[in-house]
Amino acid sequence: MTENKGSKILVFSTEKISDPAIDLAGLLKMHYPPTVYTINIPCSSAVKSRWIMHAFNKGFDGVFIAADGTDCAFDESCTDNTAKVISRTHELMKEKGIEPARLKMAAICSVCAEPFVKQMKSFAEYLSKS
């Protein structure tokens, strides 16, 4: 429904770790593309492949998982488990002919506002070229 131009990116952020970083980016008025939309969830290892595939099917150009990384308050297995979600989804994307690079993950700590903004800018740029 949005009229915003540019590559649309869906971000899965986590309530306690990466979402505060995205808030911080706003607080510091660090700008990133307005076509980045965030849905937050408790932990990055909870993202289902079908949600990601749903986003691609409905027209998102890229999906970014702002992962808890080693900061995860739930468990240290979070990093591995999130990576497994990514690799399983990459397989599904290949089957559907979607370029795997359209799904990205990076650990975003609770104050990583700058890395988040950089990630968004470079991801949007990549998506606009491909």
Binding site: M1, G26, L27, P42, W51, F74
Partner: protein, 643 residues
């Protein structure tokens, strides 16, 4: 499906309305199916608006509300309470963040910010439509707090908690209590010494039945969650028989015969320490300790001091606690080799070491066999770094250095103090110290960040040079008998507790609070609180204030016997589940149980153990697991609304 939804769009003064066209936003969302009311408001959090929302919910019989405003981290609970007051289930309230993640982040492109806000609010409405009325889970909590670190902040918090009727386990890594404060002499403003304060607090602590102190102890693991943490504490042996009294003469003999000698960390290497030690005679607990890591168990001490028992073993105990309060303190900044000639010219020392030197020199100030007259203090070492990582100001050092300089001048004769500073920050009432030091003839020389003073050797002399901006940038130099580097505070170097508890770390590497004004002593981990200088550089009064605040927060959190938990739990559809073990394997909380149900084996979630992380969701091969509040229909309808 909810179909009587009220939507409120907050101007947040100008914070949102300056960038997002809130009227346009209102008009668009008002047309959305299921929305029966859409309003804009100056401040959604203001009391009058809150009342209005309550009235709307009741009069219009709303079955869900959406408030588009700031980050839910700020006001989720404020707004949930509105729902509760109006008789609406709080989980039928959805907050949409159009400030931090929209108007502010895209303040450069207002038009696009408005478009994005529309999508975000529409997604919020979708989520509201599918929202369920949920009841919070109540878990029981033990009225116990583990306070980690028995410095002044930790001891003060322990006393306060014990006064409020909470059971306290006070866990100290060192063998003695007092932390950094016991190293300092007279303190501003009361002139009490650090050791006097520590003694006062320790003597009070031992009168409480509900405070248990462990020394030589460290938390090595944690499981469970708020209200019901299980922590394992490793306690190193003291090698002194329990219950015995201190025999000073025998203790001194034992020190004499102990062959293990090393630089004394308490005195920053000014003196030597043995494996058996007390840092100062009146240190608490009274009995000495033998350092578990340093002792070579030669047995010489046992021969002269029969109260020593080298057969003691480290033990690990389990503690069940409702909350953990960290008061683990700071380390002084350790200058790098060559930083203001540290470790290169032998009469360059840190402020903290200098303070110990003063205490160890009763009559005359001597360092490395040289009588000290001219002292150069170099400020902001390790703080306010232009190139280094420590961008922050360490807050206490200006006052501490000036206070020490006045002390030195009063204690010894012929002292000249030269303060090479970058702008003195004796904030508040501490200003009187700065005035006093100027009046007694201390010299202040100032430079900017980018042209710090230089310390160098000229022949036998140590020279400090500066382009002094107080005298129009003249190059001035002082021949110093001693150069004191006014080193700031850094987080503890050995900080294993941070890893064990996963404490969030801020930009300055100190432990991070949730919000400096709203929730200054809490962390994002429920039940883990922080106070004192592990959170930021603070002086003693400030540390005590935060310790007391944390004590009352911890007490009100766990003393009621039960804690309400978010009902965000995994739920397994028993009609789909074909027990495969994948979810129970991945669950970090052992919350998934194999059960027989209606003739087949399925997985069931144990509600009190499940923490709602959702790790089990993606691993289910038949998609039988939904996370309440984050179900497929909620997430997927939001995705559709966003695009």
């Amino acid at each position: 499906m909810r179909n009587k939804i009220g939507v409120y769009i907050c101007h947040c003064g100008s914070n949102i309305a300056d960038y997002v066209d809130v009227e346009k936003l209102k008009e668009i969302v008002a047309k959305e199916e299921g929305v029966v009311l859409a309003k804009t408001t100056m401040f959604a959090c203001a009391d009058s608006t809150q009342k209005e929302i309550v009235q709307d919910i009741q009069e219009k019989n709303l079955d869900a509300i959406v408030i588009a405003s700031c980050s839910p981290k700020l006001h989720l609970f404020t707004f949930r309470n509105i729902a509760i007051r109006a008789g609406l289930n709080p989980y039928n309230y959805i907050q949409v963040n159009i400030r931090e993640q929209c108007s502010w982040a895209h303040s450069d492109t207002p038009k696009q910010a408005t478009e994005k806000a529309i999508s975000l609010v529409l997604a919020g409405i979708e989520r509201a439509k599918h929202s369920k009325a949920l009841t919070t889970l109540k878990i029981s909590s033990v009225n116990t707090v583990a306070v980690v670190g028995a410095g002044v902040a930790g001891m003060r918090a322990a006393i306060e908690l014990a006064d409020m009727g909470t059971q306290v386990f006070l866990i100290e890594r060192e063998y003695f209590v007092g932390g950094r404060s016991s190293q300092w002499n007279k303190l501003f403003t009361t002139d009490e010494t650090g050791q006097e304060i520590v003694a006062k607090l320790y003597k009070k602590i031992i009168t409480y039945n509900n405070i248990t102190l462990f020394t030589g102890a460290e938390i090595v693991s944690k499981s469970g969650s708020v209200g019901d943490f299980d922590i394992k504490v490793k306690i190193n042996p003291r090698y002194i028989k329990p219950g015995c009294k201190l025999d000073w003469a025998k203790f001194e003999k034992a020190v004499e015969v102990c062959p293990v000698e090393f630089d004394d960390p308490f005195n920053f290497g000014l003196t030597k320490q043995k494996a058996i030690y007390k840092n100062y005679p009146s240190e608490f607990p009274e009995i000495p300790a033998i350092d578990y890591d340093k002792c070579n168990k030669c047995g010489e001490c046992v021969k002269v001091y029969e109260d020593i028992d080298l057969n003691q073993k480290p033990e690990t105990i389990n503690i069940n606690t409702g909350a953990v309060l960290l008061t683990t303190g700071f380390d002084p900044y350790e200058p790098e080799k060559g930083e203001f000639a540290f470790d290169e010219i032998d009469n360059v020392i840190t402020l903290q070491k200098f303070k110990r030197l003063i205490e160890l020199n009763e009559k005359e100030l001597i360092y490395r066999n040289r009588k000290i007259r001219n002292i150069a203090y170099i400020y902001c070492v390790g703080s306010r770094q232009l190139d280094g990582e420590n961008k922050y100001c360490s807050r206490y050092c200006c006052t501490s250095a000036i206070h020490t300089a006045i002390l030195v001048k009063n204690k010894y004769s012929d002292i000249n103090n030269f303060h090479f500073n970058r702008g003195i920050r004796t904030y508040g009432k501490q200003e009187v110290l700065y005035t006093e030091s100027s009046e007694i003839g201390d010299i202040f020389l100032q430079s900017f960040e980018d042209s710090p003073p230089v310390v160098e050797k000229q022949g036998k002399d140590t020279i400090v040079k500066i382009n002094d901006i107080l005298t129009c940038g003249k190059e001035l130099e002082v021949v110093a008998d001693l150069v004191v580097l006014v080193t700031g505070m850094v987080p503890r170097k050995i900080n294993t507790i941070a890893d064990v508890l996963k404490v969030p770390i801020g930009r300055d590497k100190f432990f991070n609070e949730i919000h400096p004004k709203l929730r200054p002593v809490e962390t994002v981990i429920d039940g883990v609180l922080i106070a004192g200088s592990c959170q930021a550089p603070l002086n003693i009064t400030e540390s005590v204030k935060s310790a007391l605040s944390a004590a009352s927060k911890a007490n009100s959190l766990i003393s009621k016997g039960e804690i309400e938990l978010e009902p965000t739990l995994a739920k397994i559809d028993e009609t789909i589940c074909e027990w495969c073990d994948k979810c129970s394997e991945i669950c970090p909380y052992d919350a998934i149980i194999k059960t027989k149900h209606g003739g087949k084996i399925i997985a069931v979630v144990n509600e009190t153990s499940c923490k709602g992380c959702g790790m089990c969701l993606p691993v289910c091969p038949v998609n039988a697991i939904q996370l309440i509040g984050y179900t497929d229909v909620e997430i997927e309808s939001m995705i559709e609304a966003l695009i």
